[in-house]
Structure formats: C-alpha cells, structure tokens
Symmetry: C2
Subunit: 218 residues, 2 copies
DNA sequence: CGCATCCTCCAATGTTTCATGGAATAGTGT
DNA sequence: ACACTATTCCATGAAACATTGGAGGATGCG
C-alpha cells in the first residue's frame, strides 16, 4: 500500500511544475503572458532575453503545462494554459512578498519610494460609476487591447507625458497597470502629480482583476 | 524608470521561492508540514531522507521563507510559515494535476484504481449533523492531535484492520486523510469495503479543510 | 563537568540546469 | 523551387544544486 516509488514519482511530477517557477526569467515571462498572448520574439525583447534562451524557457513552461501555443502563420503565440496558472503566479508572488524578506525588499526597491497614494478596487468601481475619477490604463497598447477595466482609457506610460493634455485637469486620475508588483502605475502617478495633476494608483492591476473574475472590456 | 537591474532582482527573489518548490522531496516535506509541525528527524524518516539531506532541504525552505522553526530542548520543530504557504502548495498541486498530463498520471497511479466512492465536504457536514455517518480520520495519531474535523474519531490506517470492530457495522464511514492527493483514505475505504463495511472517502482532506478555514477541533 | 542527543555547517562528489551560437525545421511569399 | 522569417533543436562550457560523511554547536541530563 502506497508504493514509495509511485509516491516519489508523484512528487517529482509536481516538482516539475515547481521547477518551472524556479527561474526569474520564466516568472517574468509568466508575468507578461498574464496580460495576454505573445509571440516568442516579442517575449524575448520584452524580457531582455536572447531568442533561443527565451524559446528554451518557453519550452520548459510548456512541458510543465503552464503555457500553451497557437500558430499564426510563421509566428507562434504563447499564452497561459489557464486562469489557474495566473492565480498560481499571483499567489507565489504574494507568498514571497509576505514571507521572504529579500523578496519584499526587492519589490520595494523596484517599485520605488512609497510616495504614491493607492485606492482599492471597490473604491475605484464606486468612483467610476459616480463619474468621480477617470481610469487610465498605462500598460502598452496591446495589453489594453487584450482586455482592460471597463471604462478605462489607454495611455501607455511612454506616451503619458506628451498626451497629458488629453486628460481633464480637474478630474482625478486612477492609473493602473499589470498588477501589484508592476512599476508602471507608480511611475505614471509620479509623472502626473509632478505635472500638478491629481492622480492615484490602483493598488493592484489586471492580474488581480482577472484572477477575481471582475468584468473585463475588450 | 524601471531599472532593469532592480526588475531582475525582484524576479530572482520571487524565483527563490519557486526554486524551493522545485524538488519532489521538498514538496513532500511541505505536504507533511501542512498537517502540523514536526522535528527534523521525524521529517527525515517520514520522507525517507537522510538526516543531513533533510536538514539541507529544510534550510532551503526556510531561506525561501516558507517554513519557520521552534526549538524545544534539543529538538527543532519545523512548521509552515503560514496558511498561505499551504494554499500555495495546494494550488501548485491542483495546477499540476489539471495542466500537466504526467502529474495527473502519476497521481492516478499513486492513488490506485478509482474504485472508491467520494463525498464532498458539504455532504459530509450535512450527514454528520444528521448523525447519518461517522467520520474517521485515518492519518497518524499525531496529525489527528494537531487538528481534525469536528466529530471525527481517529483510527490511523495501520490500525484500522485490527480496530475495525470499534466501528458500528450499520453506519456508513467517511474516511479522510491529508488531502486530495493522499492515499490513506483510498486505502482505508478499500479495506473497509473489503470487510463488508459501508465506507466512502472525503474527496479532499485536512489540507483543503484548513485552507478554506472550516472549523477545526483540537 | 562529561556525555548523549539533535541538528547544522562544511567540503567533496556527481548531477542538473542555464545561456548561447549554429544548424535544422516549418511556414510564407515570389 | 527559392529565398525569407520565425522558431525549435542541438552541442558546449559555466554555474548551481543534491547528496553524503564527518566535524562542530546547542541543549539537556546525570
């Protein structure tokens, strides 16, 4: 009863998924894929990887069952195998942030000084329906196109400075991005408040919005 | 903005937690620790590891922040750093089972033929309050002592054959164990039905019971 | 204090993984 | 068929990891 060989085989099989989560580059790829499907080349440049290196990491993720592929002409688009994969990534991130001091320190360093005010999703939804604020999606345009918070407008961070005039000067902006560990909304709020615009950021982002199955506009 | 060095440092820090989940032995240790705290020696024998090897794995888990220690005399007891760690382990397990064909096959091989009937938690709680069934915790006695389903009695699997007479012959037994991937309840139900006793198993176990914050008896 | 227990640290070994560049493959367009 | 693009496969050296035995540190007991 309970053959130790089978038991080891089971845990080793589970570990293959764990191993796939055991590389910063692969986690970065998952982070990108959580926003929508992407070609290999796009992922490589976005994550700062060599093409073959990126492909190898994607193979690892695919063998673990975490991502799936779709062929479109000569391009191959990778995507997360399912919403549970995004949830796993988010939980790994949250556990690391809560339990691992180094991870928490790295997060705080990356996100920069805690000088930006944040609102939670309930407050955003309440104030959005009240017409009190304007939600701005500061992620790259294609991520906005792959799904965004209903009512939000898209101004990618790298266009925000030049397009700041598109925003009404007297309505508060709520900027959001990929997720709680994404730097874009922090930068956006700093830029906006630096220009004297009232701006806060959403405490998390699309990753958590999708995870909790809130409505999404396409 | 968004220093790539800091970004890499963040993902590498998250990856340290992922790496900790990238070994079958470490997952087995987490599986055991999810049932309650344990000494190093106990963990080593339970997982079939050398003492130093076990200690090394525990150090890895501790550095990742997934486990914590408590000294009691010469013994050192390890425990999960928090309930979120158990949730992370459970989700990894579930994602692997759902997305990775090898993991699913390994699980099915380990748990044996699907010849045992399962009930879910709602049904168990309903029938327990109705006095319709008797819940039997077939985990080792110390895991029962560390917390169990209210109303359940403890008959460890390795004592079940000799203590079968303690069970009323005409009341259905619901056996449960560590979790959905634990073999004990499967074996218990096979043993009981093999003796002509009416028995089913709980579809999951204490891991999921704790995760969903259901009441626990001590 | 001396000794036993329990565990961690250290060093050495073999194994696995990672990054990279070149070759091979699949699909597109001419 | 041919060139071209996008990606995977393969081989290689460098780095990281797992396992094991023995030394060492902390605690408890007589």
């Amino acid at each position: 009863m309970g053959d130790p060989t089978n038991k080891a085989a089971l845990f080793d099989a589970l570990a293959r998924v764990g191993k796939a989560l055991g590389s910063g580059k692969r986690l970065e790829l998952l982070d990108l894929l959580a926003q929508g499907e992407r070609s290999v080349e796009h992922l490589a440049t976005a994550a700062g990887l060599g093409l073959t290196t990126c492909s190898a990491h994607l193979q690892t993720l695919r063998q673990a069952g975490l991502v799936a592929t779709r062929r479109d002409g000569t391009k191959i688009h990778y995507r997360l195998a399912g919403p549970d994969v995004a949830a796993l990534y988010a939980l790994l991130r949250d556990v690391a942030g809560a339990r691992n001091a180094e991870a928490a320190a790295a997060r705080d360093t990356y996100l920069g000084p805690a000088d930006t005010e944040a609102v939670d999703r309930d407050e955003l939804r309440r104030r959005l329906t009240a017409g009190d604020v304007i939600a701005v999606d500061v992620r790259p345009a294609e991520e906005y196109a792959a799904g965004h918070i209903p009512g939000a407008i898209s101004i990618p961070l790298d266009q925000l400075a030049e397009r700041i005039t598109e925003l009404p000067a007297d309505v508060e902006v709520v900027a959001y991005c990929r997720g709680a560990y994404c730097v874009l909304s922090h930068e956006a709020v700093r830029l906006l408040t630096g220009h004297g615009r009232p701006a806060v950021r959403l405490a998390d982002g699309m990753l958590e919005w999708r995870r909790d199955q809130l409505p999404i506009a396409a």
